[in-house]
Subunit: 428 residues, 4 copies
């Protein structure tokens, strides 16, 4: 994995250890509302128990940093190397993913002890001369990796709690204020136009980026326009009430087959209850707020909605080109709302970052000249470049320090348990 | 459900409450070695999380006793009526069984609080004038029901722990002594002969029995012989090493299809490890003891083994007729071995009770004149009388007070996670 | 396989060859209405293409008779030994059953040429000194085997044609007359009572029988009564209209799961069409005749219907004991109706033979002392003695010369594409 | 569907009818070696019986041309409108695709009669004043549609015959000469370089094209190189023998899961037989020819092979840009080889057209400004633009008159029963 890291002097070392402590502490904070039982649930093969996320992010530092830094390193527990390897074939075999929910040992308490021990060893490493720039780069990957799993902790536990007919909340005091936020009433949709031309896309600069954001390269874009804000629950509800889920002509063929097989009739977390639409959030079941961005929809749904609205999804390069010059501001996990919020209603491009990941029409593939590294970390991104679609911009469950304009998230077209929504586009 | 209960005077009332406390306390004892995480695991659709067993057995008393006894009864939590109903359609809908492992709320602690509250209300009932003989009969059913779930707690947690590649023990200090027990060395197999004739089978008497044990009726048996003891690990290992799992001529057609689809090559809990056979027990992974009864085999395997040995399985009526006059003695859950033990090696019929449930060749069906009651408890047994085979005699995980010569357990022919073994029979 | 054959003198030889020609000719007759395309269809894994039945019944004689009789026998085509072996592991591997419909070669014409060649070789055998009594016994098995497949040809092609939305008939001029047959109008249900006692069941005598009908042995029967006739479409329609398929309390647990998973709401071939019930028969889609026996129902449905009617299914031994002394008369395949017919409405036991196979509550198992032969023909019956239920009496698609009071047919509880119906029983 | 058709004067009309006769006649020619039984086989849900292809291509003209041209048109058989609709929701419901193999009626003869009748009515239309330019455009679509199905007839029947353990040939006298063709012996791989720049891609001009080839638009390509010829069996065999199918690091994650689940160890039609590799072709099982292009591989395999070889797949725009200026020459269906042939061994870009469809790394999606038409023909291409990959160039089963440089074929990444192969690319 190509990591674009800066100089690794003493300052860098301090920065690394400081950031390590902050990111790791935030994971601990996410655990606070959860019981050992909560941390056991694997509600579908695509999701993992929280307990597993906690162990796996620790395994990452042990495997890729400590074991590489310390001669004849003694692992905390040799069984963990197998139990908590996600998908790195070059590291070794993996415990089958769909069975993660059957593992009660090590317990959550034992996993947290593992975490503390690895943290202590990492602190020793930070204090030593062994933290080479190369290792610091891997630490940085590990922290970005942990931030990805922090988001998954939130989305996986939401999915887990949604299996419970009592609709329990992850955190009961969520976002009361946000529901009464002042917003521009009219909320008409602006279209922002962009010229045709050769654009440069992909990462360039000194900070961290993932290998899939490189190499920076040129693309030609025909003239296009982007919606100034995200599509809202109100707009999506119109689609639903217009028979959106019963009209095959609005859907891709594979999407329509999915709608019928899975019995989809609304977004994953929408619940029709006594004549009223509600939405299951991390704060429990709440009234569906019309002004909030629609979220937890699949690529299939985003695409059908856009077609119904006479528009389309943007390509990932239209999206990236459009946000050049924008600063990284928005509703991220740090705002503690843990749910997308109404758009302010200003002119211009709003909500490009945060709130919801925005589906693009771009199939996830390699950039020209991309080559995964030959070591195990080369398995991080490259091998998933097939039958997945790119999402951009981060969500209300993403850390602000984690996101960039060039950042590429990706999920299969049927996945809908993430904070994923839609910004429409048009060819001019 | 027809319950054969005696007079329900004050003495009976005292007996009921005393037995209630004892049975309920034993469930608590079984929980001692388990963590909240352990109690969450559902390792296959046929098994349930321990936490669910704890709640369901409490639900049983609340639903069938308290709600019937107390006018305008307020349930502990209305959601529990749905969550912890197993299969009683006449009580209401049921949360889907294969999803039980996705429920983290109520937590184990909350379920235990539910248990304590229901126990307190039951004590109030015992102290009141409301405990009619009819209710006392249902209490007795509830206690026998709870004893069945106690056995399932042990077999389900064994299956759950077996999914863990570290082979954790339920209880680490199990049965060390039993492995060095004095036994008759030779261990030859005696065959005990029985005459042809009309036999009476089915329950008669004053104590408790399940409805499926009645009516008592007559059957004609041709002359037969039963093995004097259970088949041993040593004998079963001979079958395995003789290519037993690779020879279709030894298996029923459906059994052979299962062997191939599931890749069976030995009993469920046998592990070939470094050239040596081990067995996963509730005490962890131990050396396979040749003299112990083979256990955790399916009907399919019991049948194939018997065929290989030139014998067959007994019918349930051969079994029941043979044990008339025998007292209920054996290795039950009270002995705390939690695993089948070597036969003493005496002459005559040994091990008819305890150690392992004995597969019979009898498909589970109704006795002549059987009719399930019209209420919800009529669903207890009758509706399962199809495509299941009868097992007799109880096991090392069965309570001694729970078993009888007329007791009929039943499982599908492919089930093999119970303490189930084989006693051979022959037609003379 | 134990075959109870009489003396095999010259007369016997003549009888064998005569019967061979007759049975084989009847198979040819069944082919007349069918195109090569019809003979290709495999509409579900449990059914086979007609073309395959034609080849397999020929393979049977080649494999078990000719190859045994003639030294260094040259098979017609070595590939056929594999392609047309159904399930005889001791003969060799088998082409996978669910894939039979993917084989277009050999064509129907080639299969019929194969048939003619084997017939010619069989005639040579009949004319030779090589036809030992042992071989003649196997010929007899082969002819009974072919008669079973003749019935399957009719039931499998009915199922195949039922997949076609145009409802094509197998034979268009079927049973017009039978629909107007004179019948006793009232059609009340008589119950015929039988005493308790020890009965002898199982085959005895000189003719042919299958191994699963032996040994003859004794059973004790409690007093019981049988319905004097088969249950009718009118009675079954009452069950349907009384919500039979929506009331779980009427069904076995596994049956109810099947009803829901498969969406059953009426018998397999009943079609609700413009407010009227129709039935798909070998003669096409016809009005549902109230007086005809209900047919093409599963064990699950027969059992639920009987429970709804306050009765139960008979055991196979009640059925067999009841028909002792009856002659083999009824609506068989020779009547060319190819569908069950209204009962005449006489007093006493009607319709015990022919019309529909009658589900019994007996799980298919071995008789005391049964032992399958060690050769390949030992696989004929014994290995299916698990999770199947016994049917008795033959159907409108059975040859009259094929059926006996002791004859045991068997199918899984969910199977419903045969001519299978229900006669109710009661314990007195 | 936007059709780019030229003027539709009398000449055009004559051209249309002439081409109609030629294309339809070629379909008939493809049927010659096939029996009614062959035409029944559906060997997997993705394939269709030949009989169905014959009917569906006829249905197309009846539905989209005749029914539109003739007031109060009487369909040949109303049932056919349902039976032979493939996936056009706007026309009506469709008979379920995976069940096509269960339909024996109409027979092949009836389907051919249907074909003749529709042809006769089309001739009447050609002779009439009703053939508007719009209808002529749809006829042209129908002919291109039929050419696509001609290729599917060949690939589906090859798959069907491959299910037969006797490996029957579609045509026994295939390509004997081609196996001895003169070729340049060395066969080294040339790399042809292309400059960076803005390229125009997509269809422009007067002839026919599908809607998915438009609008013509601009793309920017970084500098790249294409292999001068297709990858050969010899090269692919090196990959196989180098453990290609056992090394996860060479495969996309989803590809590796497929390899393991499906047990892939070589291309679909390669057979290891007595120590020698053979290939199942339409001419039967033949020796694997090293110099022929590897074919019948999936995207997954093409991608893994290219990675193993230190290369990658081309994008569809690299491929299209590279072949600008090339004439449409190659081994098409007209050469009657029905199998890919060895490359001549000339310098420069060889085999861009014909032999095998070339997998590109491009996910199948819409071009900027693409919009499917609102009528049923709008379902032809657009709704499949998800989770499929583009293939270019046509194959040995494609008609020469059917292919163009801008032509986009598409299949899922796991599909491998087409004549699909690989040309490698590199970023310079």
């Amino acid at each position: 994995m190509a990591v674009h890291a800066g100089a690794a002097a003493e300052d860098a070392k301090g920065a690394t250890s400081g950031r390590y402590r902050a990111v790791r502490a935030f994971t601990e904070k996410l655990l606070e509302p959860l019981s050992p039982e909560d941390c056991m649930v694997q509600s579908m093969p695509d999701a993992s128990p929280v307990r597993w996320h906690i162990a796996h992010t620790t395994w990452f530092f042990e495997t890729f940093v400590l074991a590489g830094a310390i001669p004849s390193y003694e692992p905390f527990d040799p069984a963990y190397l197998y139990l908590f390897n996600s998908y790195y074939n070059r590291v070794g075999d993996q415990f089958p993913r769909p069975q993660r929910g059957t593992q009660s040992r090590p317990s959550l308490a034992e996993v947290r002890a593992y975490r503390r021990e690895v943290d202590a060893r990492m602190e020793q490493l930070f204090a030593s001369a062994r933290l080479t720039p190369e290792l610091a780069s891997i630490v940085e990957i590990g922290l970005n990796h942990e931030q990805q799993h922090q988001e998954l902790v939130l989305t996986d536990i939401r999915h887990a709690l949604a299996q419970n007919p009592t609709w329990p909340a992850y955190q009961t005091d969520l976002d009361a204020s946000s529901r009464h936020q002042e917003v521009n009433e009219s909320n008409e949709l602006d279209w922002i136009a962009f010229d045709e031309g050769v654009y440069e896309v992909g990462f360039v600069g000194d900070g961290f980026s993932f290998d899939n954001e490189s190499p920076r390269h040129r693309v030609f874009l025909e003239p296009f326009a982007l919606a100034g804000r995200l599509a809202t629950n109100a707009e999506y509800l119109n689609f639903v009430e217009d028979g959106g889920y019963r009209r095959p002509e609005l859907w891709l063929s594979e999407a329509w087959a999915t709608v019928q097989e899975q019995g989809w009739s609304a977004p994953l977390y929408w619940v029709r209850n006594g004549g009223q639409w509600r939405e299951f959030t991390l704060g429990g079941l709440v009234r569906l707020e019309p002004r909030r961005p629609v979220s937890s929809i699949s690529y299939f749904e985003a695409d059908a909605f856009a077609r119904w609205a006479g528009a389309r999804l943007p390509t990932e390069f239209e999206w990236e080109s459009a946000c050049q010059g924008l600063s990284i501001e928005g509703n991220f996990v740090e705002s503690d709302a843990l749910h997308p919020q109404p758009n302010p209603g200003a002119k211009g491009l709003e909500q490009m970052f945060g709130d919801v990941w925005e589906w693009t029409s771009s199939s996830y593939g390699p950039y020209p000249g991309f080559r995964a590294s030959d070591d195990a970390l080369g398995e991080y991104n490259g091998k998933f470049m097939c039958n997945q679609y790119v999402l951009r911009g981060g969500s209300c469950a993403t850390s602000e320090s984690h996101i960039r304009a060039t950042y590429r998230n990706f999920f299969p077209a049927s996945a809908r348990w993430q904070f994923s929504g839609v910004r429409m586009a048009r060819t001019i």
